[in-house]
Symmetry: C2
Subunit: 289 residues, 2 copies
């Protein structure tokens, strides 16, 4: 099955009320008066990382992408579980993973180690505590909101190209992404919708619009990009892990961010880029086949 | 790295206090006055299931092995997250997974879907609520305790052989194991130590002895086996997902179980089988290389 069909089929399984939109970054679990946020992301050799890549970066990134999902929910890390395929570079993997867990105060809870031929897969489950309820999701964008994004888009793309070209010193935006946990927690009480930009700004904005049943209009010239000469590439490349969020008109974000568009009544398409409608996801970013 | 070295290296990472013994079946997380139990197990094509196997059985088993870890902790399922490599047989996989989730009231919370070449990996994180604290672990066996096991050992072995021989009707003990959730919850208030038998009775008893810093003496003739003519094979084959537990002398278990041995002061070896010391894990059961 492709991803869309699979997720559609998942909706026929018994679903927890905290699963909400299954395409959301993380689930929400109410326990004893606390609100937990829980997410699980997988990285596959040759798909999500290069076989020749330093395994320390893979360990770091596995933690970072999951912690970024917590950031998008305004949650502070509680702990992680690791699903690990044993093999070459395990020392380096643990070094990078450990660095990320120390940096973001996300201690190891447990997990599983398995034997596996190539390609190896690594999974991580991250659990956090929400600092604010209701927990932000991608479904809440309201007509009239302004759309904002943190940081610079396309930095991971340039980092990937540097890595491909052997310039590893310039690759950190790709190989060691920084989950914006502090920013996510500061933003959570203010936003109507929030998600992390993992698969490309335009694709993720498209998803927010679909989930919120609105249209989102983006001005490409307003978007902060790492290479203005390749603006559309920067907006369709993933892996930046910036936060994309909607705020009521007139509300200034409590963290550094750029206003890039607005939320409108659902029109002909979920997404408009410079006034042009975008009716399907093809070409917008990274879609799992 | 091999599994033992990897787990040793994990101990240098920041550890959550609930991680306890990292080799334990699941971690314990105190949240808002509740005690959660959380576990993550991975299944790899060609390692944990046969490529020709019905994917419905793989989906069922992925849920069952994780829920069995909750059973060993005396926890009731709250929800699960799925890490899924898309591919052939996904409809069947979801059918089997859905059956297990319905049967054991373990609704889907979320997860991740990825593209992956063969061999595919599937991971599941299961979260439960402990019915009793302190939560049982494999570390608590006390000198003088009796050692007990539920059910029959070696049934999964016969099921595996039936599957290999094309007799799928007789394979259910291997292909559709039943996590003993009700039994685990009934046992939790009484046991000093408990674990599920996933890798073979002798290996898992060896692990309980090591974790509890005692010796365990097992009488092989007392062990309930599916094929008495192949008793030692039944005691070293895994996948039965019975519960192995220690009870103070004189305490009768509240569920059907067989007394198979006793807990003794730590002697020359962690495990004695019919009086013979067993000093290392080789040959006792399934060890991940």
């Amino acid at each position: 099955m492709n991803e869309a069909d699979f997720i559609a089929a998942l909706r026929h399984l018994p679903l927890h009320p905290g699963a909400r939109n299954l395409e959301d970054d993380a689930a929400v679990l109410e326990v004893g008066g606390e609100t937990l946020v829980i997410t699980h992301d997988v990285m596959v050799e040759g798909v999500h990382f290069l076989p020749k890549q330093d395994m320390a970066d893979v360990g770091w990134k596995l933690a970072a992408v999951n912690l970024s999902d917590l950031a998008a929910k305004g949650a502070q890390p509680v702990g992680v579980l690791l699903g690990h395929a044993l093999g070459d570079g395990d020392e380096r993997f643990l070094h990078g993973l450990g660095e990320a867990l120390r940096t973001y105060d996300a201690p190891l809870l447990g997990g599983d180690t398995v034997s596996s031929p190539s390609p190896r897969s690594f999974g991580l489950t991250a659990i956090g505590k929400a600092v604010h309820t209701p927990v932000p999701s991608r479904t809440g964008a309201q007509i009239g909101d302004a759309l904002w994004v943190t940081g610079t888009l396309g930095a991971a793309m340039l980092g990937f190209e540097a890595l491909q070209g052997g310039r590893e010193d310039n690759a950190s935006a790709y190989s060691m992404p920084r989950p914006l946990l502090a920013e996510g927690c500061e933003l959570a009480p203010h936003v109507t919708a929030m998600m992390d930009v993992s698969d490309g700004l335009l694709l993720d904005a498209f998803r927010m619009a679909e989930a919120s049943e609105v249209s989102i209009a983006i001005e490409s010239a307003a978007c902060p990009v790492a290479d203005p000469a390749r603006r559309m590439e920067c907006l369709t490349w993933g892996d930046d892990y910036q936060l994309l969020f909607a705020l009521p008109a007139g509300v200034e974000p409590p963290v550094a961010a750029t206003r890039i568009g607005q939320v409108e009544p659902r029109g002909f398409a979920p997404l408009f880029v410079d006034g042009e409608p975008v009716t399907n996801r093809e070409g917008l970013g990274y879609v799992h086949k």
